[in-house]
């Protein structure tokens, strides 16, 4: 019994323990491996949140296709549930019979300049101006998970002027 304890206490084992412990602590401090399983969730309100203002739901930058098009497309929702698309910093080329539509961002037509065949879209109205900030009302029934791209579309020539992929704000 006595010899067991003395053999434990004496010798190199203690040196190993004495040296190993700080290394273990240092490794823990550096890597904090428990954080792999522990989430720290916060939920701060916007410092200026106002329930009466329209809230942005989705937004995206416009990319030019058939014509140079730039700016931002954002979908807002008012407290009473009305949704609208707003274009800002917007610029495209002027043209005949140009419309603002919503389409599916994975629609192959949107990668091309000219739409061939079926084009699944939701009409929002004629383009009010080829430059400047402008709002378009959305039909109440439109599913924005499905129609998640804003498109500047020339009906006469089936030309896609520009596309904005809308992502959650």
């Amino acid at each position: 019994m006595k010899s067991n304890i003395s053999s434990l206490v004496s010798g190199r084992k203690w040196i190993l323990v004495a040296a190993g412990l700080p290394i273990l602590v240092a490794a823990w401090w550096a890597f904090r491996p428990e954080k792999l399983w522990i989430n720290q969730k916060v939920s701060e309100p916007a410092p200026f949140a106002s329930s009466t203002d329209p809230q942005p739901l989705y937004t995206g930058r416009l990319e030019g296709r058939a014509h140079q098009t730039s700016g931002r497309a954002t979908i807002y929702k008012t407290p009473d549930g009305k949704q609208s698309l707003r274009l800002t910093d917007f610029s495209t080329s002027n043209g005949p019979d140009v419309h603002v539509v919503l389409a599916r961002s994975d629609d192959a037509n949107l990668t091309q300049e000219i739409v061939k065949g079926q084009f699944d879209s939701v009409e929002l109205g004629s383009l009010k101006g080829n430059q400047g900030d402008q709002n378009y009302d959305l039909p109440a029934s439109v599913d924005l998970q499905e129609y998640n791209a804003a498109v500047i579309y020339c009906e006469r020539f089936h030309a896609v002027f520009g596309v904005a992929r809308l992502e959650q704000f």
Partner: protein, 150 residues
């Protein structure tokens, strides 16, 4: 002779109008200006699966605030929110070794959820274009959000 000149002029004017004119729309936004949204962008970062949106607001008194929404990253030691003077940043980018200029916004409050960070008032946002979730201990970029004008 005069009449024909006038007609030609009118025709030319009509042509010029059709091709040259640009229609300018200016719809307003119905809200009292409490805070202006200046810039926004989404996070990318595969190594530490970082996602969500970063938006910079300017409050009515001029204060700049960075807000993270739908935010998620991996938890880690000594993680900070910084702005870097770059257009974008790669996963695990080391801003110390690349001596990229940065602005410290504070320790990451949580690895999930909506959170706000104050931006020093003298920060030049035209220069610091990217938000980075940065692990100071290992000098590694967890995720970056390149900002674009809202």
């Amino acid at each position: 002779m005069m009449v024909r000149n006038v007609k030609t002029l009118l025709a030319l004017a009509a042509l010029a109008f059709t091709f040259g004119a640009s229609a300018y729309a200016q719809d307003g936004m119905k809200h009292e200006d409490k805070a202006k949204t200046l810039e926004t962008g989404t996070f990318h970062g595969k190594v530490h699966s970082t996602s969500g949106r970063a938006t910079i607001y300017q409050e009515a008194d001029g204060k700049l605030v960075l807000r993270l929404t739908n935010f998620k990253t991996s938890n880690g030691p000594d993680v900070h929110v910084i702005l870097v003077a770059a257009k974008d940043a790669d996963d695990n980018a080391n801003f110390l070794s690349s001596s990229t200029e940065r602005v410290e916004l504070g320790s990451l409050k949580g690895n999930e959820g909506d959170q706000n960070y104050e931006i020093p008032s003298n920060t030049d946002l035209s220069k610091f274009k990217t938000v980075s979730i940065y692990c100071e201990r290992f000098n590694a970029n967890f995720g970056a959000a390149p900002l674009e004008k809202f």
